[in-house]
């Protein structure tokens, strides 16, 4: 579906952002930003809505990261996720879930 195309890279490119991104370290496990979100109810629902392929890719990255963490290693540098290539694949789904939740909350407040 057209409206669910994910954003790639940062919203606004900045060297500070790039530095912070690389400092955070998750990219050295080959993870993307959306792999590291705290799994609250919204995120869980958004993950459930992911198309099969994106869902499998996410699981693969998470499992690989767990394995790397267990063996106390990181990926070779050419496989690190780059600041410019980080795909926010969950964002469109998550935004929709949040909007739906807010709609429900608004309704409960006003009726």
């Amino acid at each position: 579906m057209a409206s669910y195309i994910a954003r790639k890279g940062p919203m606004v490119f900045s060297n500070l952002g790039k530095w912070a991104y690389n400092m955070s370290g998750f990219n050295q496990y080959g993870l993307h930003r959306d792999d590291c979100l705290d799994e609250n109810a919204d995120v869980k629902e958004a993950i459930r809505r992911l198309p099969r392929k994106l869902y499998d890719e996410r699981n693969y990255r998470v499992m690989r990261a767990l394995h790397l963490s267990m063996t106390k290693t990181i990926l070779p540098k050419e496989q690190w996720t780059k600041y410019e290539d980080d795909v926010k694949y969950l964002e469109p789904y998550l935004n929709e879930v949040i909007k739906e939740r807010e709609e429900r909350e608004d309704w409960n407040k006003n009726h």
Binding site: M1, R48, R49, E100, E103, R104, W107, H111
Partner: protein, 442 residues
């Protein structure tokens, strides 16, 4: 979303208050206004008998338009009434309509899919606001998945009688009109979001749709209809002509009961006179008892009583579609007894005989039925929706009654002869050991 379709201006509001428009008396039939918009969308309105406004959007997207790989799409469209659309969520649709005490109903048959919203007259704006969204369903993949259980429940609730009627359609028309209005079980979870949206885009178009209302002013409804956003590329699906084949469609199931539907080729709605003749014939040969737990008079009633004392449930079956139709009977009985009943009824069907007394009774019954349907708001809007979407115009009750009176005995007899001469179709479900095949009945 802007929803100014039904904004009444000040003068009209004052006029409305001043005259205190009285709803038409219950049991009376309403005059009908038909208006065709620039984009060929038909808008029809009638007065209400209760202060409740009913508005329907009727789309020519029923089961007959499904291709083999989109079988069940029209069932999903009925389900779409409870799912999110492009503009609003399922939650918003349900809650806002409920909040004003309204209801939203989706319905469908082999040719049409319709959405009807019922609200009190002063809350019609809320109803219309969400009704217009339904023209653009979203079919979000996760909602389709979440609704699998609902679909299964709906399929389990289909009675054997309905399934026998589905089967006889399948035997008679094979594809097109032969498609079931219920999703086949092998298609559960197989219809993707893309194929459903494609189905919507190719079947929803203003030139084949209709907007009808009871208890709403024609100008207001026309204004609303103008704002409807039909999906682009609308109506690209060509209509396939229905052709009658005949044959068998049988489904053996456990148990000792059997339900059998037998039919020959009936009248098409495009041929008004023939369709009415078949409708009269249906009443004449026995379309259910007129009294509670009573016996059905007419040819079929006699045939069943000749077949023996075993308890047999039956009624005439008459289905008129825009370019073809079915006429016959549905019968249910114990699997051991049903063979004889089907035999006798088929012989009655094949005899092609109908007396003038039966025709006179058939006419009276049909007229009562037409009046009954047209004098309740719920019945009226369904009639209007069907007619407006299929024939692009709506006949009021008086015209219909006049047309029924105009059908001669010969025309009804010709209808009986037509079905007697046609190849039969048999749809049967249950304990089928004694159910004859179509070739045995010929």
């Amino acid at each position: 979303m802007a929803c100014n379709a039904s904004k009444t201006n000040l003068l009209r509001a004052i006029a409305k208050r001043g005259y205190a428009t009285c709803p038409r008396p219950v049991g009376d039939t309403a005059a009908i206004n038909v208006n065709v918009l620039d984009n060929k969308l038909v808008v029809a309105t009638a007065d209400a008998s209760v202060p409740v406004t009913r508005v329907s959007i009727v789309l020519r997207a029923g089961a007959r338009h499904e291709a083999y790989d989109t079988l069940g799409a029209s069932h999903m469209l009925r389900l779409a009434g409870s799912m999110s659309t492009q503009n609003s969520t399922a939650f918003a649709i349900a809650r806002h309509i409920q909040q004003v005490g309204g209801t939203l109903i989706s319905w469908g048959d082999r040719e049409l899919v319709g959405y009807t919203v019922e609200t009190t007259s002063d809350n019609v704006e809320t109803g219309l606001c969400y009704l217009q969204d339904l023209v653009q369903p979203a079919f979000k993949p996760w909602e389709l998945k979440d609704n699998t259980k609902t679909l299964l429940n709906q399929l389990d609730a289909v009675s054997t009688k309905e399934r026998a009627i589905e089967l006889v359609h399948k035997a008679a028309f094979r594809r097109g009109l032969g498609n079931s209005i219920y999703i086949p079980r092998f298609q559960l979870g197989k219809l993707s979001n893309e194929s459903l949206l494609h189905y919507v885009a190719s079947n929803y178009s203003p030139s084949s749709a209709a907007v009808v209302g009871v208890g709403i002013d024609n100008n207001t409804l026309s204004g609303f209809a103008q704002t409807l956003n039909f999906p682009s590329g609308g109506g690209s699906a060509g209509k396939s002509e229905a052709s009658y084949f005949g044959g068998d469609a049988r489904k053996d199931t456990a148990g000792h009961r059997a339900v059998v539907a037998v039919a020959g080729e009936g009248g098409a709605a495009s041929n008004h006179k023939e369709a009415l003749a078949f409708a009269i014939l249906e009443q004449a040969v026995g379309a259910g008892a007129a009294t509670k737990r009573g016996n059905s008079a007419g040819l079929f009633g006699e045939a069943v009583s000749c077949a023996g004392d075993a308890p047999v449930q039956f009624r005439a079956l008459n289905a008129s579609y825009s370019d073809s139709g079915l006429f016959g009977f549905v019968v249910a009985a114990d699997g051991k007894e049903i063979g004889k009943a089907v035999d006798f009824l088929a012989r009655a069907l094949k005899s092609g005989a109908v007396s003038d007394k039966d025709v006179a009774r058939g006419k009276a019954l049909l007229k009562a039925r037409v009046m009954g349907k047209h004098s309740s708001d719920g019945g009226l809007i369904k009639q209007m929706g069907r007619q407006a979407a299929l024939t692009r115009t709506v006949l009021d009750a008086n015209t219909l009654i006049g047309a029924i009176d105009g059908i001669s005995l010969q025309q009804v007899q010709a209808a009986a002869k037509k079905v007697a001469g046609s190849k039969l179709s048999v749809g049967a479900i249950g304990h089928l050991a004694n159910v004859p095949y179509a070739s045995d009945l010929a």
